[in-house]
C-alpha cells in the first residue's frame, strides 16, 4: 500500500481530535465530572429537597419558595449553600414574595453532597454551568452568617 500525504493528513487530524476531545483529556475529564455531579445532585435533590421545593423546583404557594426562576439562585448563587447546610429561619423575600416557613438544616450532608446538589441546581435553574468542588463549599460554609 502506498502511503500518500493525504493519508497522513487524515490520520494526524484524527489522532489530534482524539487527543483534544477524548475522555482522557482535561476537558474530557471535566465534562464527565460535571455530569457526574449533576446526576448525583439531582438524586440528592429528589431525596432531600423535592418534598418541599417540588420536583420541578416551583415550590408550594407562599409556603415553600421556588428555586426555578428565583432571584436567589440568579443573583446570589453562593447564598444557597449556607441555606442548604444550616437551614433558614425568619422571613425572606424571594422574587418579592414573603416566605416565613422555617427550613430544617441538613447537617448530615457532606461537602461533596452539597457541591453536587449546588452543581445540579445551577445547571438546572441557575445561570452558571460550572461545578463547585467540596473545597470551595467548605470555604463558603466557613463564612456563613
Amino acid at each position: 500500500m502506498k502511503y500518500n500525504s493525504c493519508f497522513f493528513f487524515i490520520n494526524t487530524t484524527f489522532i489530534l481530535f482524539l487527543i483534544s476531545c477524548g475522555p482522557n483529556t482535561d476537558q474530557g475529564k471535566y465534562k464527565i465530572k460535571y455530569k457526574q455531579y449533576v446526576n448525583e445532585g439531582y438524586r440528592l435533590y429528589i431525596q432531600h429537597c423535592s418534598n418541599c421545593h417540588q420536583k420541578d423546583g416551583t415550590g408550594l404557594a407562599r409556603l415553600y419558595p421556588p428555586l426555578k426562576d428565583s432571584n436567589y439562585l440568579m443573583n446570589d448563587p453562593d447564598s444557597i449553600i449556607c441555606i442548604i447546610k444550616n437551614g433558614q429561619k425568619g422571613e425572606i423575600f424571594v422574587n418579592n414574595i414573603s416566605f416565613n416557613q422555617p427550613m430544617p438544616e441538613n447537617l448530615v450532608l457532606t461537602n461533596l453532597e452539597i457541591a453536587e446538589i449546588t452543581t445540579f441546581l445551577y445547571s438546572e435553574w441557575g445561570e452558571t454551568k460550572h461545578f463547585l468542588s467540596p473545597q470551595e463549599i467548605e470555604e463558603i460554609l466557613s463564612l456563613c452568617p
Partner: protein, 220 residues
C-alpha cells in the same frame, strides 16, 4: 328463512344480555364503609331482624385558624376529607399539603365538600400560626379548616376515630411519627375511604371517589 330470523333474534337477545351485563358499574357502585361494624340481632314479635351499626367519627370540639369553634356540626350535611399534620414537619407533610391542595382546588366550588386538617403539635401550631400557614397556602378557611386543640383529644380521635396513628418520637426528623393518610368521611360520620396522601395516584382515586359519594346522596 324463518330459521334465519329465529337465529338472528336469539343472537340479538344474547348480545343485549351480554352488553348490559358487562357495562362498567363502578360509577353506580357505592363506596365501602370502613371500620368495625356491629351487627345486633333483634327478636321482635317472633321476627328476627339485624341492625348494623358502623364505625363512626366520635364527637369533637376544636378551634380553627380563624379562632372558630369547630365541631361535628360544622360538617353537618357535608362530606369531608381529614388528615393529621404539623407545620414544621419536614418529611411527609409538605407532600400531603401539596396533594390536599389538589383536592381543595378540585372541589373548592363544590358546597358538598370540606377539608379538615388537625395539627398533632398543638403546642407549636397555635391558631395564629395555623392562620398564617393556611393564608400562605392560599386557601379559604371556611373550606379548609386547620384545627388545633388538646393534644390528647387530637391523638385520641386520630387513633380511635380516624384510625391513623400519631406519636411523639425523638428519633425521627420533626419529632413526630405519623400517618400520611387522607380519610374520606360521609354525612353520617362513616369512613368511606382511606388514601395515602403522599401518593399522587391514591389522591387521584380520592378525587374520583368524592363525586361518587356525593352521587349516593342524590340517588336517595
Amino acid at each position: 328463512m324463518k330459521q334465519l330470523l329465529n337465529y338472528t333474534f336469539i343472537a340479538g337477545l344474547l348480545a343485549l344480555i351480554f352488553f348490559t351485563g358487562c357495562a362498567p358499574k363502578d360509577n353506580l357502585e357505592k363506596l365501602p364503609v370502613l371500620g368495625r361494624k356491629n351487627v345486633i340481632s333483634n327478636m321482635d314479635s317472633g321476627v328476627l331482624t339485624y341492625d348494623t351499626t358502623y364505625h363512626q367519627i366520635a364527637d369533637f370540639l376544636f378551634v380553627n385558624q380563624d379562632s372558630m369553634i369547630i365541631t361535628n356540626d360544622s360538617f353537618k350535611d357535608k362530606i369531608y376529607v381529614a388528615d393529621f399534620f404539623f407545620t414544621t414537619c419536614p418529611t411527609i407533610c409538605p407532600i400531603m399539603k401539596a396533594q390536599m391542595l389538589r383536592v381543595y382546588e378540585e372541589f373548592k366550588n363544590n358546597d358538598h365538600v370540606l377539608i379538615l386538617s388537625h395539627t398533632i403539635d398543638p403546642n407549636y401550631d397555635t391558631v395564629a400560626l395555623l392562620h398564617d400557614f393556611a393564608d400562605r397556602l392560599g386557601v379559604a378557611s371556611d373550606k379548609w379548616h386547620f384545627v388545633t386543640g388538646l393534644q390528647e383529644e387530637i391523638y385520641d380521635i386520630g387513633q380511635n376515630s380516624y384510625m391513623v396513628s400519631a406519636l411523639e418520637d425523638q428519633n425521627v426528623p420533626g419529632g413526630y411519627i405519623h400517618s400520611g393518610a387522607f380519610i374520606l368521611v360521609d354525612k353520617e360520620r362513616h369512613i368511606r375511604g382511606m388514601y395515602d396522601g403522599t401518593k399522587e395516584d391514591q389522591v387521584n382515586r380520592l378525587i374520583k371517589d368524592i363525586p361518587r359519594l356525593i352521587k349516593e346522596y342524590e340517588i336517595q
